[in-house]
Subunit: 132 residues, 2 copies
């Protein structure tokens, strides 16, 4: 396992927001499961990841890892508003920093539930951005 | 690249339905991006993959592969009804046969477009199942 991925797992356990910020490459791009447009930069990626890990935390569990070089596909299951969510975090590392983070979820009910939580997430985004 | 994956790519080029059927393990499980319930068995997996490759074919292109052992994550872009679709085929091989096939797509508009095509897909499923 590469060092960046090991750090990501450690942060998922510890919820250490400073370590999360430090793990994100300054040029990181975040791709949401809901929105088409990429979110560019460390600050916005940090804000999305902070909010998402909070909203998706209930029962969150990684179920499968497919890793090749600097690319990691981490499959997970969780629930949002009682709705079962199955998804993947597709992470690209560069020098053990997160350079790209893309999330996809299934089934349809799950993406609708995540979309329904976007309002709450955006509030958390504002709170997170206020701390940086 | 494992032999099963090489065959999958060849079938995507040739649209050889017999070769596709032969590549699917008898105990294969298909997971749709839209529906929660798994589709179990070679016949139903063949029907879904035949219909899906038809519905999603306009501008379909694999953009990234993350492969580890018998697991392959193939990222693609395509359009459905003029809507941009970004997705992944997550394929598990066993003895070079497809044992599991899971699809996820983003963003929200894309999964809604795919869902909107399900009626057409189901008609194709019936047509495909009539040939086997």
């Amino acid at each position: 396992m590469n060092k960046g991925l090991a750090q990501w797992h450690e942060i998922m356990r510890s919820s250490d927001t400073k370590a999360l910020f430090d793990l994100i490459h300054p040029d990181c791009v975040f791709w949401s499961p809901v929105v088409h447009t990429p979110q560019v930069g460390r600050d916005i990626t940090f804000a999305y990841l902070s909010a998402a890990t909070d909203v998706l935390s209930e029962g969150f569990e990684y179920t499968r890892e497919i890793i090749s070089g600097d690319h990691a596909v981490l499959e997970f299951t969780t629930t949002v508003d009682g709705i079962f969510v199955n998804g993947v975090d597709i992470i690209t590392f560069s020098d053990n920093k997160i350079l790209e983070f893309k999330v996809m979820v299934r089934p349809l009910k799950a993406i609708n539930a995540v979309h329904g939580q976007m309002g709450e997430m955006l509030e958390k985004l504002k709170a997170a951005s206020a701390t940086h």
